[in-house]
């Protein structure tokens, strides 16, 4: 029997035609709304959920005001965007990185370079808060069309901010709705609806830190994941190196500096570690942390709400009491005593910030009395036992580091505070691990026009025991303005040497 002879054929055909007829009005309506949204310029822009990790995201657009110029697309608007002038005969230097670079006083650097070189030059600061090597590498690649004589990259503090964004993006893309939406974004109608339902835009310059991934996303992050993220950092930098080489642009890779006194962000058990034992150790660590005598106990700030942030240095509501004495912390010894005033003006510090600096000051300078000494020695022994079981526990290293610092044992303090930074599962500051990657890359590509400026080593050499922190930073990695000024002064001589005709 052929299909045409089938007795079911007419009924099936009628059904199919019924489906077709039922669909035609919807198809016509969709066509009409597609044409209507086009006529009304709705649903024009496609929302990029990837926070700029998509290489197709355009970071630079032609400047409509200045023919031949470009404008950055960092904030989805003109507020705070950087305008890059058309290329002139003056040497052009481009700075790339995250918020620290964004805060670099580039005009100061420009003056220093112009003075030393005796010529006019142009510095463009393409630093943007929250950017780690992932987005910097995309921006760097796109910036090649601007033309430049020297590129400077200071990046690494935001690797795990970007990792957190990626995790959020990944989570938002799971499930049927996200997959279907991805396909439907081909329709203007859908994009217009999406824009209609989107939350209202923020007023004023947006703050990516407000969107920083909660530490919860790192609760399952194992140390192997941390190391994988660092491999990603290396591969992003490698991309930058390749792009610079292809464009014939000399590249300066700079090691970054972090706050050795800020606590680690995240710790998780080693692979295959007994969960019951881990829970027990965590409980013991918590008890130790809470029972440590002041000033060490009070100086440890692990909880997000207790950590110092930018506003702790800016938002003082009332005047300072007369006779306010600036905390000493770790003043740099001669010949670098000029590093001492690397503070923001204390009139703007909040009580929270001042109290924390006072505790650190006590930790560093007050005499250790017998009861405190006994309590710290006991805690130290327990922490060492814990480290015998979990040698890569960042918080245990951190606590031990501060105890050693309290005892004035700088080499041991250095060792533990460095281990704390190295073993942090999701650090918000760089460590020697990051900087060794930078050094390695610069060395590997030295013959291809890649240069190293080792600021970490330079700054370590200025402080007792190689340790510094809140003297120059307001949180884990952001420098006070005066410290940034000093930092660009450190950058100036090697940049001058590279730019000298």
């Amino acid at each position: 029997m052929t299909p045409q002879d089938s007795p079911r054929r007419p009924a099936a055909a009628r059904f199919l035609v019924g489906v077709l007829y039922a669909a035609i009005p919807t198809a016509l309506a969709l066509t009409a709304t597609e044409l209507g949204t086009k006529a009304l310029h709705l649903g024009v822009r496609q929302v990029d959920e990837t926070r700029g990790f998509d290489p197709r995201a355009q970071y630079l657009l032609p400047d409509s005001q200045v023919p031949g110029g470009f404008v950055t697309q960092f904030y989805d608007g003109d507020d705070g965007e950087t305008h890059i002038l058309p290329r002139s005969d003056n040497p052009r230097v481009m700075l790339f990185g995250g918020s620290n670079v964004q805060g670099f006083p580039e005009e100061h650097l420009e003056q220093l370079l112009e003075r030393d070189l005796g010529l006019d030059l142009e510095i463009n600061n393409l630093g943007r808060e929250g950017y780690g090597s992932g987005r910097v590498s995309i921006l760097f690649e796109q910036s090649m069309e601007l033309g430049m004589d020297l590129a400077v990259v200071y990046a690494g503090h935001n690797e795990f901010v970007e990792a957190g964004f990626r995790q959020e993006v990944q989570a938002s893309r799971e499930g049927f709705a996200a997959t279907a939406a991805e396909t439907l974004r081909g329709l203007r109608t859908f994009r217009a609806l999406e824009q209609h339902f989107a939350p209202p835009e923020q007023s004023g310059p947006p703050s990516p830190e407000a969107f920083e991934a909660d530490d919860a996303v790192f609760r399952q992050f194992r140390y192997s994941d941390t190391l994988a993220q660092l491999e990603q950092f290396e591969s992003n930098l490698e991309r930058i190196v390749v792009k610079a080489r292809e464009a014939g642009v000399p590249l300066v890779l700079v090691t970054t500096i972090g706050n050795y006194f800020s606590a680690p962000q995240s710790w998780t058990p080693p692979a295959d570690f007994d969960p019951a034992l881990w829970a027990k150790l965590e409980q013991r660590l918590r008890m130790l942390y809470e029972s440590l005598p002041d000033p060490v106990g009070a100086a440890i700030r692990v909880e997000p709400e207790r950590r110092l942030r930018r506003n702790d240095w800016l938002d003082r509501p009332d005047p300072l009491a007369p006779g306010f004495e600036l905390p000493r912390l770790r003043t740099s010894p001669a010949p670098h005593t000029e590093l001492a005033p690397y503070w923001r003006r204390p009139e703007t510090w909040t009580e929270r910030g001042i109290q924390h600096m006072r505790r650190l000051d006590s930790l560093l300078h007050d005499e250790v009395l017998a009861p405190e000494r006994a309590a710290l020695e006991q805690a130290s022994g327990e922490l060492q036992q814990l480290l015998d079981l979990v040698p890569d526990h960042p918080l245990a290293h951190y606590m031990l580091g501060l105890i050693q610092l309290r005892f004035g044992r700088e080499p041991q303090a250095y060792e533990h505070l460095h281990q704390a930074a190295i073993y942090d599962r999701a650090p918000r500051k760089t460590s020697t691990l990051h900087n060794d990657i930078v050094r390695r890359l610069a060395q590997r590509h030295a013959a291809e026009g890649v240069h190293l400026v080792d600021l970490e080593t330079q700054w370590q050499a200025r402080y007792p025991g190689g340790l510094f922190g809140f003297e120059v930073m307001w949180d884990s990695c952001h420098m006070h303005p005066q410290a940034r000024r000093r930092l660009v002064e450190d950058l100036a001589p090697p940049l001058t040497a590279l730019l000298r005709p």
Binding site: P10, A13, R14, V17, G18, Y21, A22, A23, I24, P25, T26, A29, L30, R45, Q46, V47, D48, E49, T50, R51, G52, D54, R56, A57, Q58, Y59, L61, Q73, F74, Y75, D76, E168, S172, A177, A178, A180, A181, L184, L187, T189, F190, L193, E194, Q195, H196, F197, A198, P199, Q202, P206, S207, P208, A210, F211
Partner: protein, 54 residues
Amino acid sequence: MRTEQQLLSLGSFLSFLRERPLLWLGVLFIVYGTLAWLARTVSAVPESPFQYRL
């Protein structure tokens, strides 16, 4: 073959629209409703504070 030609004529389509309004309106409602629901769902995802033109 003749039956199918009759079925696909404009006249039969118009009579379908007249006779089965609930059916085609239902399809229209379901398609647009799904689009709106999806758009609302995905736009509720925490979004980047800045968007990029692609």
